[in-house]
């Protein structure tokens, strides 16, 4: 079976073999986090618009945003089979479909005084409006595994270093030609001040196969710590944070392309995961 094609809305169903492989891949990435002390959590599927706005999500990523709300029952009339609802048909859109899994982690820790360096891993459905849809490469809703570190600047930097040391050999064992490149995320001002510091001191690096980013490592400095009032240490300083993120359907896409079918891709993942697990034991 070939890779599924996207529909006009970017909504894609995974066939059984792809769904099984997604779970295997996810368990590999989750295990990497757990080995480092990450606590697995399950986050809510929607987040308040007001909360994401506090994190500048609508400043930096307005082009990806999707929001949700309930029907306005004062206006709604039963009957008919609407294909769309007008803005006047719905109550104010107070909820958002998150574009990344880690936002919920910072919001969950809002106001927290961390006992020490903290690590959390989550896998969430994430949603992004894209300018085009493309099979498993660009979908409206997809699965993202993230491993998030909160604490000292040194701890969160070390977290990304350890993950890079896993991602690179794992991709090589899968036969993927992986490149690490600095990336600029924010939507606005790409050529201006933000872009300048992003070029000089990158906060995001992507791991790319062909032209497709399948994972990223991101430093946030103390941005989320400040915005969410998350503190650590005796002085109560704003926590630093970083995250390693994996777009699971994108891994499926490049694996299917590299190995030709789901069976071969699954066999390659099994073998690479075994090698990675053995290496982890060897390091312990």
């Amino acid at each position: 079976m070939t890779e599924p094609a996207a529909d006009p809305h970017g909504l894609v169903a995974l066939p059984p073999q792809a769904a099984a492989l997604l779970r295997v891949l996810d368990s590999v990435f989750e295990r990497w986090g757990v080995q480092d002390g990450a606590k697995p959590m399950i986050m809510p599927p929607l987040l308040p618009v007001a909360a994401l706005a506090r994190l500048d999500v609508y400043e930096n990523f307005p082009h990806q945003a999707l929001v949700a709300g309930a029907l306005d029952l004062q206006r709604h009339r039963p009957g008919g089979r609407p294909e769309t609802f007008a803005p006047t048909d719905v109550e104010p859109l107070a909820l958002a479909l998150p574009s990344a899994a880690c936002f919920a982690v910072y919001l969950h820790h809002e106001g927290a005084v961390l006992d020490g360096d903290t690590m959390v891993t989550v896998m969430s459905r994430c949603f992004r409006r894209e300018d085009r849809w493309e099979g498993l490469r660009r979908m409206l809703g997809f699965h993202m595994r993230e491993v998030v570190a909160l604490g000292s600047a040194e701890f969160v930097a070390e977290h990304l270093r350890r993950f890079e040391e896993r991602i690179v050999p794992f991709a090589a064992a899968l036969g993927l030609d992986l490149r690490k490149i600095p990336a600029a995320d924010p939507f606005y001002d790409r050529g201006g001040q933000r872009a300048l510091l992003a070029r000089l001191a990158p906060v995001k690096h992507e791991f790319v196969v062909g032209d497709l980013a399948i994972a990223s490592v991101n430093v946030h400095r103390n941005f989320f710590g400040e915005r969410c009032g998350i503190t650590y240490g005796p002085a109560g300083a704003a926590a630093f944070s970083s995250c390693a993120a994996f777009g699971l359907e994108r891994w499926l896409s490049v694996l299917h392309e590299r190995h030709g079918d789901w069976e071969a891709a699954a066999a390659a993942v099994d073998e690479a995961a075994t090698v990675a697990a053995a290496a982890a034991v060897g390091c312990a």
């Binding site: 933000r194 510091l197 400095r221 002085a235 630093f240």
Partner: protein
């Protein structure tokens, strides 16, 4: 925080932009602490240019030069500007 007049002016600029920030010293990383962030970086460079009388070429600059007050002082304020 004591130091040169230039350092005092840099600190005053940073304090004005980040009144909420905890105390910071000459060796603290201004970029990691986000006292100088992506939206204020060019203004910070312009302030250094104005105070030191030296130009900063954004095409060739090394960001590590601007990470700490002590490094900025060392590079921009301890020797005379090139005529």
């Amino acid at each position: 925080m004591s130091g040169t007049p230039a350092r005092a002016k840099l600190v005053a600029w940073l304090r004005e932009r980040h009144p909420e920030a905890p105390d910071f010293g000459p060796e603290d990383d201004l970029i990691e602490l986000r006292l100088v962030d992506s939206l204020g970086f060019l203004e910070f460079l312009q302030l250094i240019e104005r105070l030191s009388g030296r130009g900063v070429d954004v095409e060739t600059l090394d960001v590590d030069t601007f990470r700490t007050l002590s490094r900025i002082e060392q590079v921009y304020f301890t020797t005379a500007p090139t005529p």
